[in-house]
């Protein structure tokens, strides 16, 4: 009799793959719309036409630009005007420290953010100046000269003080771009920063209360408390995260989450940090996986040889 086993195997595999395709790729394509990456080009934002001068930019940032009224620049020895909890009470969220903004955020984005925050952040649906809903970041209307030159100078200044691209770690990128709104408890990260070790529970609880107070202001500001991102690498996946960070509105029209304006490199690092929290063992998995696959392959070969030797007498 003809050996039908190969045919049977083909039938079984074909039906299995068909079922898999239907319940995974096909069903998910129907349930979630696909969003293509825009390559972090921020094509909707105007290009910077002027060449910035960092020295002028520094003067503007410290003076007429008014940045340091709300923002700290710890690298330059400029502390925050108030602590994070109080700041969140005033602005809704603690304004970011600008030390490394120049490397985390895209230059075009920073320029537009200085001039027109709600537009750059894509939160105009929440902050409509015409209706008196002002974004807590005050727009820069110029210091008397060419505003485009002034903005370019400030961006150049921020870029001049920031660490280099290679020095920017995944944790830094995450803390800068996400860490003031999102906690990540698997990395011991709260919206106030990394929770320190306390000797006494009383102190630990006092810290937690501060976090809760901050979260209360944040919740009021955002409409709901932004989620803890510890497991987002697994609940959302890389592609979703990357395109969501790039433009939250493309996935979730009307969301309060702003476009954070990170560079492609910073976005990659943010995602790497999320993988560090939710998929810590990925390297171990890859190396153990290779060894196990070899082992099983050799097992299968020996099993095949054993079968052949046993069955030789049966036919």
């Amino acid at each position: 009799m003809k050996n039908k086993e190969p045919l049977i195997l083909v039938v079984v595999v074909a039906f299995t793959l068909l079922t898999y395709w239907l319940v995974e790729p096909f069903a998910h394509s129907q349930m979630h719309k696909h969003v293509e990456s825009e390559d972090f080009a921020y094509a909707d934002l105007p290009a910077i036409t002027k060449t910035g001068n960092a020295a002028n930019g520094k003067e503007l940032a410290m003076g007429a630009g008014g940045c340091t009224g709300c923002h700290s620049i710890t690298k330059e020895g400029i502390p925050a005007g108030m602590d994070a909890v109080t700041a969140a009470g005033v602005y809704g969220v603690n304004p970011p420290d600008l030390s490394d903004a120049g490397v985390v955020y895209d230059a075009k984005f920073l320029a537009d953010l200085i001039k027109n925050p709600a537009h750059a952040l894509k939160v105009e649906h929440k902050f409509d100046a015409a209706k008196g809903q002002m974004h807590p970041m005050v727009a820069f209307y110029g210091a008397g000269g060419d505003i485009d030159q002034e903005v370019a100078d400030m961006v150049a200044y921020l870029q001049s003080i920031a660490v280099s691209k290679d020095e920017l770690t995944p944790a830094m990128a995450f803390e800068n771009a996400c860490g003031r709104c999102h906690a990540m408890k698997y990395e011991n990260w709260t919206q106030l920063g990394e929770k320190p070790e306390f000797k006494f529970e009383k102190e630990s609880l006092a810290y937690d209360i501060q976090v809760l107070e901050y979260q209360e202001s944040l919740t009021k500001y955002m409409g709901k408390l932004p989620p803890d991102l510890s497991m987002y690498i697994r609940s959302r996946g890389e592609h979703f995260l990357s395109t969501f960070i790039e433009n939250p509105q493309a996935h979730l029209a009307g969301t309060a989450m702003p476009r954070v304006g990170v560079t492609a490199d910073a976005a990659e690092k943010v995602i790497e940090h999320m993988a560090d929290a939710g998929d810590t063992k990925r390297d171990e998995r890859a190396s153990v996986g290779t060894n196990v696959m070899w082992y099983i392959l050799i097992f299968a070969i020996f099993a095949f040889l054993w079968k052949r030797s046993v069955w030789r007498e049966l036919h």
Binding site: G289, M293, L314
Partner: protein, 404 residues
């Protein structure tokens, strides 16, 4: 007491006390298997191996898992995945095996249907198999609850709601099952107990029954041929191994079992290391949130077909259809009225019935996951009706089947 002599070897010592030679004969060397069977008959061994993997990985997970609504999610996703050495491996083995075991169960079931292995004399094999399927389903569902993720919680809500039985409004029964108005601590603790103790015990007992059911009627074969096992095994023992129609289970068929297991394990570990997320619904990596319903609630893939039989109808009709789908497979040995034990391709109309059923269940599976809108809900309704019609038609199709 039996008479004991001084043992000549360890084996002899054991043999006098445990009759290991007899056990070996019954279990392996004189457990006769027909020769004309293909690799589909190795699915039983694959299931046994997968169940062992589930049991062992489950025991390791059990050491660190916390059955508490506040800690369950983190005990799985933080403690086991990050803190425990190789915790990720046990979890992925457990998660992938839980899904793959159903794929193999379905292949095993459809093999039985195709070759008529449930027919006269083999009904107990079929019934014990279906009981195993039901128990495995309960085991899978109760396990799915334990990480207390978003889909765990809402699947628990939806599935337990079924027990209100539509217009009967048995809300008291639902609360009794949950131990609360909604899935909460009592619910988690009892599902934990079911998953790690009661249901695995039941499964092990049923596996014993399933094996015992094979002993007298023997395994069916590719041609449905009735083999005289006495005569054929005698031929084998007399040295005519090639001429006999049967072989030993050990090591003859066992060697083929192991070969198929080897190939299966390549596929299995590929999934564990490189495609583990195929079995783990991303929604379940969000912690349970009773104030926020997921955009789509659907069960794991292996329940989708029966979920889709429930869904396209009004509540009461749907429940009746669902109940029908749950029990109808058990009745197969009596619904198939034909005297033939033969592969479906030789049985005319039954062959068409078999392939239609298989395709219908795949369509139901797909529609069970897709949102019930537009064309999908129409296809779902047609497939659900098709399922019922196929089973109602089965006795009539097989009644007049000619003897082959």
């Amino acid at each position: 007491m039996a008479h004991f002599t001084k043992a000549t070897s360890v084996k002899d010592w054991l043999n006098q006390r445990l009759a290991i030679e007899k056990v070996e004969k019954v279990m392996a060397s004189e457990y006769w298997i027909p020769k004309n069977i293909n690799f589909l008959w190795a699915m039983g061994m694959i299931l046994a191996i997968t169940f062992a993997l589930l049991l062992v990985s489950g025991i390791f997970l059990l050491m660190y898992y916390q059955p508490h609504v506040d800690f369950a999610f983190d005990s799985v996703n933080y403690t086991i995945m990050r803190e425990v050495d190789f915790g990720w491996l046990w979890r992925h083995v457990h998660g992938v095996a839980a899904s793959v075991v159903f794929l193999v169960i379905y292949i095993h079931m459809f093999t039985g249907i195709y070759y008529g292995s449930y027919k006269k004399g083999r009904e107990m094999i079929w019934i014990s198999g279906m009981l195993l399927f039901v128990t495995f389903s309960a085991e899978a569902f109760s396990g799915y609850m334990l990480p207390w993720g978003q889909m765990s919680y809402w699947a628990g809500m939806v599935i337990t709601n079924i027990f209100s039985l539509g217009d009967l409004h048995l809300d008291g029964l639902v609360e009794w099952i949950r131990g609360d108005y909604v899935p909460a601590q009592a619910f988690l603790t009892r599902f934990f107990m079911l998953h790690v103790l009661l249901l695995p015990l039941a499964i092990m007992g049923l596996i014993g029954l399933h094996f015992a059911a094979l002993r007298i009627p023997h395994v069916n074969n590719q041609d449905g041929e009735e083999i005289d096992f006495e005569a054929e095994s005698k031929k084998y023992l007399d040295g005519d191994k090639a001429g006999s129609k049967v072989m030993r289970f050990g090591n003859d068929f066992l060697s083929k079992d192991m070969m198929v297991v080897g190939v299966f394990l390549i596929f299995f570990f590929y999934l564990v290391f490189y495609n583990y997320s195929f079995a783990l619904d991303p929604v379940n990596f969000d912690p349970a949130d009773m104030l926020k319903t997921p955009a789509h609630i659907y069960p794991e893939w292996y329940f989708l077909w029966s979920y889709e039989i429930l869904r396209p109808f009004s509540v009461n009709i749907g429940l009746i259809a669902f109940g029908f789908a749950q029990v109808i497979f058990v009745l197969l040995p009596w619904l198939d009225r034909s005297p033939n034990v033969a592969p479906a391709n030789r049985r005319g109309a039954f062959s068409i019935w078999f392939w239609l059923l298989l395709i219908d269940m795949i369509v139901l599976t797909a529609m069970g996951k897709l949102p019930p809108e537009g064309i999908f809900s129409t296809i779902g309704l047609v497939a659900a009706l098709g399922f019922i019609i196929l089973w109602v038609a089965l006795p009539f199709i097989t009644m007049n089947e000619k003897k082959v």
